[in-house]
Symmetry: C2
Subunit: 558 residues, 2 copies
């Protein structure tokens, strides 16, 4: 059997006009702002009109720690959404938008795979509806206004050494990580050292994804801390008078984007914050709009459950008043084997013992998720080389953890391969057994919140932090930021801060290198280890082979 | 009588669905890629399908040297287009897209004014259909790939001191004019001095506006010179293998945008290159598509006729095989007065003598335009304070120059105010009397081309240039670039290089400070005086007062 590539399958998609997709959710043509024939933004008027509707069931898809073998979290999100529709449920999916920059490096797209994809795939991986460009503009307008304020006399007495607001581009460009600006003399301002991050790392991105309305958006943008004075008192974006213009630039970007799966089911694709220095979920406004228009909403969180699901629950759900009715934890036989010590090159050989060994990682995630009070189903995303015995080993293991695992073949078969999963997930969601609660209360101290996540999710013995970090946290508490949740930034490959420690390690510590206040987004970022906020291009970037073919189709993007 | 503001008039617009506007030009719904309900991109399939149609008449709107009094060139372009439709002609207009960055500084929009506007005005001054963002991405991808090539071993032997490709942002940000990149150690590359220009100054912008197809686009992108080796041999974007991916990023941006005037007539708004270091016209693909779908196409060129019209004729028409059938030269009584020495504060007082004095500027432009073999009509864009005697003075003067002037009131009255102009322009265009020819032949030397423009358009005595400039031009001729036209970059406020010399000065020289080769766009840029390619924000940027009002409307943008 020879497989078609994702792009070949996507090109054969029988897309319906986006108005037909919207109609399934009660949207008229006027409620949709079309971008071409297969993408649209949902109007604010429509969103306002559905606020009185009943709220659908919320299903979170998360995964074990990612391995080079690939887990298929987005693929499972799409497959489950299609599966729910296939069994007669009214379901929509909610996923993040892809960042343009990394597509020209080596990352593939972020629209699912096989027969469980969202289309139009190429456009979703390029400019899509321009949301990320709008975020780039809003972010950089604020940066320009800060330097402009200093240039014209610095009435606010900004300490030029303490401007923390950098600039952003949606591009992998290591040369911009660390730069000196305003060279060239008097007319260009006061030279200072700063840098660029990739757009998805912008606090504006995190804000857009947590804001509940344009008014809330402007409030949060105004709350951004951009610099401080010599006495360390903060300067806000509001002081620079940038919040109004930034909101204008983000007006359209705030509206959720509607597209469709290969099976013509509705998919909201909106927002895409980093899952390390930010919370890594699609926008609140997309999720809540989906919940008011569909009976079941399947969404996903970034990276593995230790980072993505933890933040989904402790940041997004807490802030937006959401509560998942069921959590689907994606695992693969291949990833279990890698967690059990098998090298990537040897994954083709059956090794039940290694699968069993690697299941410890899966087991810990199940336990962690249950500690939020939510029911957990494991979806085994099937790969063609998986043996029956290996699959059974995972199923048996999950049973010992008081949960259940279901084999899924949506990658090869679309919704048909996710019927069993969809049926069981709908049953659980409908049963109302979820008793969701965030892991910690708002009034815990910031350091205690860090300890709570480190001990209960990472299973670490302790949190290590210099006195300067502890003092900084206390200063923020004194300034009224103590009630914020913490946003952990650590490697996604391990429960520990060492990317090489697979499985379910114990006896480790979590060293906190730095803490940052995202006052607009509303969380304290806790940086454990090296976190890269501006990627570089590889030796042979995929950009070198991306081009239009003679039919005008895009080659090399995936 | 109290006047409504441009934005108030624009908000009251009775817009039709963009599909209805397209239908007037023979486009079906499938031929249009909608962006919302009032903007669309014209599909490549449609453009291909109309190539066999007859070609409409081309009318260029240009102006005297701009003064702070405002001339209303775009307003007249829109008014004339509406006027032609009002007298039963099938007419379309073609104008440039606005740059987002300057709207947050102090520049107003670029969509006409009064009752001669193109809508949706707010969106045209913000993200519009994302074309400029796509250009920013394509430009910066090339920049990232250059530094990445050096980082991974510099196989092409790029001389890091001779990288001429800078980066761009669509933002007024003086801090980025001159920067040092790649600081921070080994992982970030080799530090070097470079900078950012505003997106409209990108050679990619000029290329997009001159390219006739996606294939031509990729060819031109590949031809961009990005750096040179120690032996000064050029490195092309093609050597960096960026041309394919850049073309993919620009795929949608290449398609012309269709919007409408307040009177629901079709308007193509596409591309927006600088009018100093580039040629300052809307895209060739929009103009040619308009000519194949309408009987009359009204377009405009940047700045005054000495810069904009000269480049329209010598660069755009030459390269695209276009020939204007009539030229409309916009003048105002107020601008004539300022050219006659009246200060802006005193413009309200009748001063026929000053008008007569200032007409010298108008007269020179008429003569210059006629030297291209084209018929010239002067449009007097009426302002409410203009006296009858002042208007008559302009009409009488123009008659002495062997041309004719027509008073227009489209700003206050829409098409009704441009009926006389439209009737006369249509007569002239239909008569076939235009005998257009560019001012110089391709095979003149580059320096002779500069002299030709300086002497025949600017009426200068001589061109001053260092030997190094002259040698550079000879080197490019030896390298095969001698057949390119020249693109003059000088102040728009005077025929000379001194912005304060109004009227029709003589006895001056044109000092050439620097020459640059835009090998992809296909012209040699000749820089005379200071040219700013990255603007700054003023002391009180308009961004400070731009915001959404309680109705969700944008305030402060205009």
């Amino acid at each position: 059997m020879s497989f078609k590539s994702d792009i070949e399958i996507a090109r054969e998609a029988n897309k319906k006009p986006i108005q037909e997709i919207g109609a399934r959710l009660g949207m008229t043509s006027d409620d949709l702002l079309p971008y071409g024939h297969d993408k649209a933004k949902v109007s604010q008027a429509f969103i306002n009109s559905v606020q009185g509707n009943k709220t659908g069931k919320l299903i979170l898809v998360t995964a074990i720690n990612p391995t080079p073998a690939g887990e298929g979290k987005t693929t499972t999100t799409v497959g489950l959404g299609d599966g729910l529709n296939a069994i007669g449920k009214k379901a929509a999916i909610c996923i993040r938008e892809a960042s343009l920059g990394p597509c020209f490096g080596m990352k593939g797209g972020a629209a699912g795979g096989g027969y469980a994809q969202v289309v139009p795939m190429e456009e979703m991986n390029l400019h899509f509806t321009g949301d990320f460009h709008a975020i780039t503009s809003a972010h950089n307008l604020l940066a320009a206004m800060i330097d402009n304020h200093i240039y014209w006399g610095n009435e606010l007495e900004i300490d030029e050494r303490r401007v923390v607001w950098r600039r952003v581009l949606d591009m992998n460009d290591r040369a911009l990580r660390d730069v000196v600006t305003s060279l060239g003399g008097v007319a260009n301002g006061f030279p200072r050292q700063t840098g660029f991050d990739i757009t998805v790392a912008s606090e504006v991105m995190a804000i857009l994804c947590l804001a509940t309305s344009l008014k809330d958006l402007q409030q949060r943008l105004g709350d951004i801390i951009v610099a401080s004075r010599r006495d360390k008192s903060p300067i806000y974006a509001r002081d620079i008078k940038a919040d109004g213009a930034m909101t204008v630039l983000l007006k359209d970007a705030m509206q959720p984007n509607l597209v469709q799966t290969l099976e013509n089911n509705p998919a909201f694709v909106h927002g895409g914050p980093f899952a390390n220095i930010a919370h890594g979920c699609n926008s609140v406004i997309a999720t809540t709009t989906a919940l008011k228009t569909a009976d079941y909403v399947v969404t996903e969180a970034g990276f593995g459950a230790d980072l993505g699901a933890e933040k989904f629950m402790n940041i997004k759900c807490r802030k937006a008043g959401l509560a998942p009715d069921c959590v689907v934890l994606v695992a693969t036989v291949r990833a279990m084997k890698m967690n059990g010590g098998v090298a990537k090159a040897d994954l083709g050989t059956e090794d039940v013992a290694a699968v069993q060994e690697g299941c410890a990682n899966l087991g810990r995630h199940i336990g962690n998720l249950k500690s939020f009070g939510v029911p957990v189903v494991v979806a085994i995303n099937h790969f063609s080389g998986d043996s029956v015995a290996e699959v059974q080993a995972v199923i048996d293991y999950v049973e010992t953890q008081g949960s259940e695992a279901i084999l899924c073949t949506h990658w090869a078969e679309g919704s048909k391969g996710a019927i069993a999963l969809a049926t069981r997930v709908a049953e659980i969601a409908d049963s109302g057994i979820s008793q969701f609660a965030p892991l910690y209360e708002d009034d815990l101290s910031l350091f205690e919140k860090i300890e709570c996540v480190a001990k209960r999710i990472y299973h670490a013995d302790e949190v290590l932090a210099d006195q300067s970090v502890r003092n900084q946290l206390k200063d923020w508490e004194a300034a009224g930021y103590g009630n914020l949740p913490v946003c952990m930034a650590k490697t996604q490959y391990s429960f520990t801060t060492d990317p090489n420690r697979r499985g379910a390690p114990t006896g480790h510590s979590v060293p906190v290198r730095e803490v940052r206040l995202s006052a607009g987004a509303g969380f304290v970022v806790v940086i454990c280890g090296e976190i890269m906020t501006m990627p570089g291009l590889p030796r042979v970037p995929s950009a070198e082979t991306i081009m239009l073919n003679d039919l005008g189709q895009i080659e090399g993007l995936f």
